[in-house]
Amino acid sequence: MSMGVPEIEDAKLLFIFGYNGADAHPIVARRIVKAKQKGAKLIVTDPRITESARIADMHLQLKGGSNMALINAIGNVIIAEGLADKKFVEDHTSGYEEYKAIVEKYTPEYAEPICHVSPDLIREAARAYAKAETSMILYGMGVCQFAQAVDVVKGLASLALLTGNFGGPNMGIGPVRGQNNVQGACDMGALPNCYSGYQSVTDDAVREKFEKAWGVPLSNKVGIPLTHVPHRVLEEKDEAKKIHAYYIFGEDPAQSDPDLAEIRETLDKIDFVIMQDIFMNKTGLHADVILPSTSWGEHDGIYSCCDRGFQRIRKAIEPKGDVKTDWEIISLISTAMGYPMNYKNTQEIWDEMRSLTPSFYGATYEKIEALGSIQWPCRDESMEDKGTPYLHKGGKFAHPDGRGKFFASEWRPPCEVESSEYPYSLSTVREVGHYSVRTMTGNCRALANLEDEPGWIQMSPADCEKLNVKEGDLIRVYSRRGSLITRVMPTERVKAGATYMTYQWWIGACNELTTPYLDPISNTPESKYCAINLEKIDDQASAEQFVKDSYESIRTNMGIDTAKKGV
């Protein structure tokens, strides 16, 4: 995020794009409600009526998969109506002419048949966004989980450049990240292309610095993105390039990755799979070795919030059973593999990381303790440097020439669209009671009592009527890749032809259906769009029995005590 989360409350206009705060982050949603109460204008772009859309001044209920066309149209209106911040564009940006040339044809009238949003509403939204004193963009997985994702992110950033909404408080652009501490994982270099603090693995000076610190030669090549693993196992002919071992921790690809049938085949074909997690999960069923680790209340550490804020977490209780912290396990494995690794605590690891990462160097344990949170960059250890609440102060950007780069791209449709055989679209979403892949929440009696297997598919009342199904009925959902059973949830909040499922359920696992198509730059899969069909189940009783039996069998296979399950 270019801004801090608390600044959301004080923006004069919030432009929320493909982000459902109420279900994904109820506490961030609170800031959105507060902003509205303080008089902020709310524009929400979402194919569903989310809680934010419900209270918004304008709801652009676009058709899924049309983000780029809509954003280009908004840019088009801002330029055509002379609403751009010309001084900011001139002083602090580059690439404006190229940008203007691409968005030129995206008039609201051109975008309408793609987005299904009326030209008047697009114009009204563009005017409000450009004219507000401070406008802030919040976006979520409704932007990132498309095969055209990075383009859209840059398109949103270009709107902020075009209107001068960078460099001050309560403005800018904020990706509200999908997972707890996913920002931290990226900050620490758990990516194939960088070390901590986004220092590139292909930069020789950086590599030499790390080689010197660690006393080992390091590769200067970018690694393999997670979503390329199936390809490198199933299709790679060169044995030397093939993946033979896969060490997975804090991740459940057999639940969360697209096209699960392919993932299971991948996991079974790899010679050796290690799974390290707090509870048993679907990936664990395919693992050769399982390393049980501690959960968040059982260890110390630092998380990064989506707004670049480092916060300390502290051990609250002694771990039960034969478990170790992730860092202890990594140290032991490393030592056993011939590189002795010894740390006394997480502070030692943090200090080593800081010493190699200039942009985080000033964020000491003591300072985080004293201030509660520090947003990077924080370069100096002295108390003077309290971090950076918002980026690009005074219109200075990270590019070597200090200017923000405009970017526009032609709209591309999703990779798999509806057809006569698969006439509905499916998008994966979140729900409030269960988190991520249900490792932490699915076996909780209290939460299982609120929502439980096999999960739901959200459908428009018109589609329910067409298929002659009602709320709670079990229904078969299938795509080119797989099929599953889930329950019908009719809701006026979705448009006819579009359906939505949460991705954590073991029985109604919607990733059986999703496509493995990726964004070419981020390698994030297109979880937000695939084509499916629905089939009414006449024998509901045997379908109910099937759900019950499959759930029991998964639990038995995972060694979860079935007798203790709630009433």
């Binding site: 509205k36 419900r54 209270i55 209290a446 809701t491 006026e492 909040r493």
Partner: protein, 186 residues
């Protein structure tokens, strides 16, 4: 009039984000003593039985709960005399309730639900069969419980308020009286 009007909890749809913290807080506060429900989910051994119900429609989202009616249809229709009114609050006695569902039918707000009874951390079975015993559940404003109503305290968005309509009416009529005086045209 010698008796106060019963107060009740209402929600504001504009602020609610549908997080269900109120439902969980309601359940937890009513089961702390009898069923040892504590602050973490690991202590929940029984079915979750909230007494207010989150409703999501196309353009509304808010929890619905009992209005503590003055001439309460639930109480009037109860065939087992299981519903009583104490200090303006309507209570269901779970031990007397036979689950006839008259109150569910009678309640114009859908604020009564039939839910399983639990005691000492276990679901209670019926005498004649193994089936779980159910009773009517409705909001009792957390009467007799500390720091109630729990839903109000738990809501992160200040959506819920305890309404005292007598005070509210008085305040409104005072404002109306002042406004009327200001017009000065009578």
């Amino acid at each position: 009039m010698n008796k106060k009007l019963g107060s009740f909890v209402v929600a504001c749809s504009d602020q609610c984000t549908g997080c269900k913290a109120c439902e969980i807080a309601c359940f937890a506060s009513h089961n702390q003593k009898g069923n040892k429900v504590a602050h973490t989910v690991g202590t929940v051994e029984i079915p979750v039985t909230p007494r207010l119900f989150l409703i999501k429609l196309e353009s509304n989202c808010l929890p619905i709960q009992c209005k503590q009616c003055e001439d309460a249809p639930c109480l009037n229709s109860c065939s087992a005399k299981a519903i009583t009114k104490v200090d303006g609050v309507l209570f269901v006695n779970e031990d007397l309730c036979i689950g006839c569902k008259n109150c569910m039918m009678a309640c114009p707000f859908g604020a009564v639900e039939m839910l399983p009874i639990a005691k000492k951390g276990k679901a209670v079975s019926q005498i004649g069969t193994d089936e779980v015993r159910k009773s009517a559940f409705k909001c009792d404003l957390c009467s007799g419980l500390e720091n109630g109503p729990a839903c109000i305290a738990a809501c992160p968005h200040d959506v819920l308020k305890l309404i005292d309509l007598e005070d509210d009416r008085k305040e409104k009529s005072i404002r109306a009286a002042i406004a009327l005086t200001l017009t000065g045209n009578l």
